[in-house]
Amino acid sequence: MNPITVTVAVWAVLVAPGALAASAVESLEAAYRSAGAGPFSTGTGADAWRREIPPRDGGAPRSCATCHGADPRSVGRHATTGKIIEPLAPAVSPGRLSDPEHVEKWFRRNCEWTWGRACTPQEKGDFLAYLRGVQP
C-alpha cells in the first residue's frame, strides 16, 4: 500500500466521515435492491428501531433501543454485559456505517438476538436510511 493512499485514507476518516458512511450505505442499498427490496423509508426504520419482540426464552421484550438507546445519537449499553456502546448515528459517531462487512456482521448477530430471526433486505435498508438520516 503506498503512503499517499494511506494519507488519503486517514484524511478521509478524519475529515469526511459522512461521505464514508454514504458510500458504504449506498453499496449496501444497491445489494438490497438487487434482492428485490426498496424504496427505503426513514420513518419505517425509526418505528422498527423501537419495535419490541419478546424472546423465545421468555425474558423481557427486546428492541434495537434495548442496547443502543431510543435515540441513535446517544451512548448505549449492552443489555447483558453492560459494556458502553458508542452512538450508531454517523452524524455523531464518525466511522459508523463505513464498512459494509462490519454492518452485515452486526445485522446478522443482532437481528437474531433482538428479534429471533434474520432481518430482511427491506428492513436492513430502512434501518440504514433511518440511522444515516439522523441529524446531529
Binding site: S23, T80, K83, G95, E112
Partner: protein, 184 residues
C-alpha cells in the same frame, strides 16, 4: 478496496491508541508506587477485535487454558449470543489464549484464576464463577453489581475497576458507579 484501506488505518489508529493508553497507564502506576499489572494486558490485536466488541477483551490470564478451549469451541452459542469469527481468526485467538492462560503464566493472580471454577461441567466456564473471583467479590452486594443499571454484570470489570483494561485489579482502584470508592 477503499473501504478496506480505511478500515485498516482505523484498526491501526485504535491499536496505537490502546497501546499508548496501556503504556501510559503502566507509567502512572509505577510512579504512584503500584505493583505491576495483576494480569498481563490483552495486547493481541486480532483477539481484541474478535473478543472485545460485546464486553471487555478479558485478559487471557483470567482463565485456565482448558476453560478458554471450551469457550472457543462453542462461539455459535456464546452466552445467548453469536460470537462466531472466521476460522483463521478463531485459530489465532485460540493459540493466543492458550499460550497466555492463567495456568501457563506466572502472574500475581495466576494461581487464583488458574484453578477450576465452581461452575457445572455442562455450562460454559466463566471468570466470574471461578472460586478465586467469588472469594474476592462476596462482599460486593448484588444491588451494586447486577442490580446496578450502570454495571449490570460482574463480567463488566471496567465498570468498577478503573484500570481493568490495563490488567490492574488493585482493590484501591475500585470505584463502583453510583457508590463511589470502595472501602472494606
Amino acid at each position: 478496496m477503499r473501504t478496506k484501506i480505511v478500515t485498516g488505518s482505523f484498526a491501526l489508529a485504535v491499536v496505537a491508541a490502546v497501546g499508548g493508553g496501556l503504556v501510559g497507564a503502566g507509567d502512572r502506576g509505577e510512579r504512584a508506587g503500584h505493583d505491576r499489572a495483576d494480569v498481563a494486558p490483552a495486547t493481541d490485536a486480532r483477539y481484541r477485535a474478535a473478543c472485545g466488541e460485546c464486553h471487555m477483551a478479558f485478559q487471557p490470564g483470567l482463565l485456565p487454558a482448558a476453560a478458554w478451549d471450551r469457550v472457543m469451541a462453542t462461539l455459535d452459542r456464546h452466552f445467548g449470543d453469536d460470537a462466531q469469527v472466521p476460522p483463521a481468526t478463531a485459530d489465532a485467538v485460540r493459540d493466543y489464549l492458550a499460550a497466555n492462560a492463567a495456568d501457563r503464566t506466572d502472574g500475581r493472580r495466576a494461581a487464583g484464576f488458574g484453578s477450576p471454577g465452581a461452575g457445572s461441567a455442562t455450562s460454559l466456564p466463566r471468570i466470574t464463577e471461578t472460586r478465586y473471583f467469588s472469594g474476592k467479590h462476596h462482599d460486593v452486594p448484588a444491588r451494586l453489581a447486577t442490580g446496578n443499571p450502570q454495571v449490570r454484570s460482574f463480567a463488566n470489570c471496567p465498570a468498577c475497576h478503573q484500570r481493568a483494561e490495563a490488567g490492574s485489579y488493585n482493590e484501591h482502584e475500585v470505584r463502583i458507579p453510583g457508590a463511589g470508592p470502595w472501602h472494606d
